[in-house]
Amino acid sequence: MRVLRALLFRLFGMFAKERRDRELADEIESHLQFHIEDNIRSGMSPDQARREALLKFGGVESAKEDYRDQRGLPVIETLIQDLRFGIRMLRRNPGFAFTAVLILGLGIGANSAIFSVVNAVLLKPLPYENGDRLIVIRQQATRAGVNAISFSVPEIEDYRAQNHSLSGLVEYHNMAFILLGRKEPERVVTGVVSWNFFDELGVKPLLGRNFRPDDEKPGAPAVLLLSYEYWIRSFGGDPTVVNRTFTMNDRIHTVVGILPPVPQYPDENDVYMPTTACPFRSDPQMITTRSNRMMQVLGVVKPGVDFRRVQADLSRVAANLERAYPKEYPSNYGYAVKSTPLREELTHNARPTMLVLLGAAGFVLLIACANVANLNLARMSRRERELAVRVALGAGRARIFRQLLTESLIVALAGGALGLFLAHSGLDLLVAFVSHFTPRAREIRIDHTVLLFTLIMAVVTSIVSGTLAALDAGSARDLKEGSKQITTTLARGRLRNALIVSQVAVSVLLLIGAGLMLRSFLKLQQVNPGFQPGNVLTMRIDLNFSKYNNGDKQRQFYDALLSRIEAQPGVRSAAATMIFPLGESMPMQNDFMIDGQMPGQTSLPVGDFRVVSAGYFKTLEIPIIEGREFTSADRQDTPGVVVINRSSARRFWGNQEPLGKRISTDQGKTWLQVVGVVGDVKQNGLDREATDEIYFPLAQSPLLDASLVVKTTVEPMSIAPSIIELIYKIDPDQPAARVRSLEQVRAESIAVPRLTLSLLGLFAMIALAIAAVGIGGVMALNVSQRTQEIGVRMAIGAWPHEILRMVLGQGMVLTAFGLALGVVGALALARMLQGLLFAVEPTDPATFVAVAAVLAIAAVAACYIPARRAARIEPMTALRCE
């Protein structure tokens, strides 16, 4: 307590110095007067009395100094002094201050930005109350190689009843429905969930209430929760939307609450409804059929139970099911169940890229530090005189060391502030980038953890970049005029060269990283997707389930729509399809039977089923290799046909002629004939292998939800409004969504590698620029320190071009050292990039050579300016100077 009180007083003692000094002077004066009076009383003369009093008191000034030290906190006061002095010194050298702050700002900014992502996505706990206990459960058919199978209603009930390790088990699936009751019909992506879905996650609604058990009872009034994003986007955050009613699937739905802005898993949905409100989920056949698998399942682990025991528990249930229903889980499936922590599920996509970027940002900061350390060293040689004076006046080495570190700290803190500003400005872009990986992107922000990280970065940076120079300055100096110690200069020169070499080496690392990404991206762009994305418009149509409740109605709608679209000017052809390439991936793996092939021990063949209308292949210009594509002659009442892709042909029929062969998707009840073989299409991504695809004609297997693809002769987006108009004409309650050109879709599908490349490229460019400035700066300093020597050389006959070559040569030697080190480092580290690369080896020689060339050119350019200046030195002026 006493200590605290004293500290507080001393803290206050640092203020109102003038008044306190005056009081102290008064007090000492009155002390002296008392003493003088006493002395006079004891018989001294006034002069003698005064002298004796002063003598007895000792040094008045040093007493005052002691008093001041006791009054305030000398540590802080020296710090403030150092800060003031530091700022003065920096203002006297604005060029240095500006460069150093800019360089450190770039370095720290890169780190703050990437750290804000790592913090939000990888470090922070999930923003759900039960986040650490949530698991994702999947069924698998290990022997058939399928590792993510959805659940059916009976399966969910079995797992819920038979597990011992979960305190809750909830289901989820999502569908697109049409929401009516606003100005225009709106397609809303709807999450269909158990009533306690959000309770189990631990998410409380922002407004209104969560679902209740009653909401999920069959026949209960339909209710909706809106996601925060949808609420803001579509309703402008209007709180009165709670309790409003809308029509969906021919029923009145009441909004009961708004969700908070949390990452949504498994999908980003617009609205949520309980299972009983979903017309598909509440269909009696759906509820009773064990093989109607549509739902995903999340579990909440009981507190204190570890994940391994949960897995064992669930596997036990799986074994029970396999035993009880051998027909549904044939032994050749290898039925299994797998649980994964939700947190891992949400972040494992982002982790490798984020760690690579964090490493790259770290390297940028390293270069920045080395560069600023060099700037500091250079500055020290200019401040030799000043430092010598201060040493001569009694400044201790520790004091000078501290002073110089304080100056570094000022620079680094300013750099940190600039870095924060840069990170903040780039945040939106970064969020957009990271949202390609994880819904946690929305949690990215500059919070206090990021601020603290930045502060620590700045302090560490100041120590790293300032210590060398401060140590250098601490080595003894004396004031003797002209005592230029060659050894110090040499040692300092070597230090500077080492710093340059390290900057070059690290920029080589980053350039190679970026170069590999660039090569990989170019390869990705050259991939033949198997179709022509140019001039194709796409849009999504989700028909109203209750209105188009049978195949005929669905067929009629698409027939009518497609024929009207094809009659539009500017349209070459149009088709409807379940999915189009490179769009949302929708795993539709199904098994089937091949006529004449016995399944035997292994499981049935599995293929990716697609449903397309006649004209699909023509519209996307997917080549027909053999046979024919679907035509309007393939109708419901004509024999069933399929078209397969080349992969399927090879896999299922090998060298046999596939045309005319038959397959069955209903255990041999009906058979479909292969009438055509088409080229492979990169359906799931340019970097993925084509899958074994089997196409069914829309006419024979109608679709409720489909995408339109329209080949145009004009700019595709320009005719979108007229096509939406056509849809309204057929059905005014039918919205279209996700209107994009296929070219856009293709660009989005490679957005992740493109953005990763941009970020790595940006970091590499910053690194290269800093390193180039560093080389140039050091060479310039060398030249100016060697002016005399160069003058002598020229005086005894050296040609300017020889001088030029000498300076350039020195720069190149440093560059070559750095390059060699960097290449060695890259060979060791590039393997970490492997997972991010497509069709490029991490040791790709072309990249290494190109990087070396770029770096050499940059180094030559950076050294050319000082070299030319050296070559233009006038021998006489050089000799006269100093």
Binding site: R2, R5, A6, F9, R10, G13, E23, L24, D26, E27, I28, S30, H31, Q33, F34, H35, E37, D38, L55, K56, F57, G58, G59, V60, S62, A63, D66, Y67, D69, Q70, R71
Partner: protein, 113 residues
């Protein structure tokens, strides 16, 4: 200057507190003179260290100060003991007595020799 020993480090505070207890409010010079007189002029107070010591005691709340006027009409800062200072004085006196007793026992002629 003088061959009188300076007040030992650490005891000055105790002496100041004791002086203020016996004399009441007093200014710096008075405190110093009083300490010297009490020691029978065996000790010499370094006036330069007195004022930081007084400030420290005040920061710790053992003494308080206010400007006043002396008998001969001179403006001076008067120090006086606070209640916490009185307690501190008791405690330090006890500590000191104990310390001197222990030391005395050490320095007393040993029984063995």
């Amino acid at each position: 200057m003088s061959d009188k020993p300076d007040v030992w480090q650490g005891t000055l505070a105790l002496m100041v507190l004791k002086t203020l207890e016996s004399m009441g409010a007093l200014h710096g010079y008075g405190i110093a003179r009083r300490i010297e007189q009490t020691s029978g002029d065996l000790l010499s107070v370094n006036y330069g260290t007195l004022y930081p010591a007084l400030l420290k005691l005040e920061q710790e709340g053992f003494i308080k100060s206010e400007w006043g006027v002396s008998d001969n009409n001179r403006k001076a800062k008067y120090y006086s003991l606070t209640r916490a200072g009185r307690k501190q004085l008791e405690k330090e006196t006890r500590d000191w007595e104990q310390a001197t007793q222990i030391l005395a026992r050490f320095l007393a002629p040993s029984e063995e020799s």
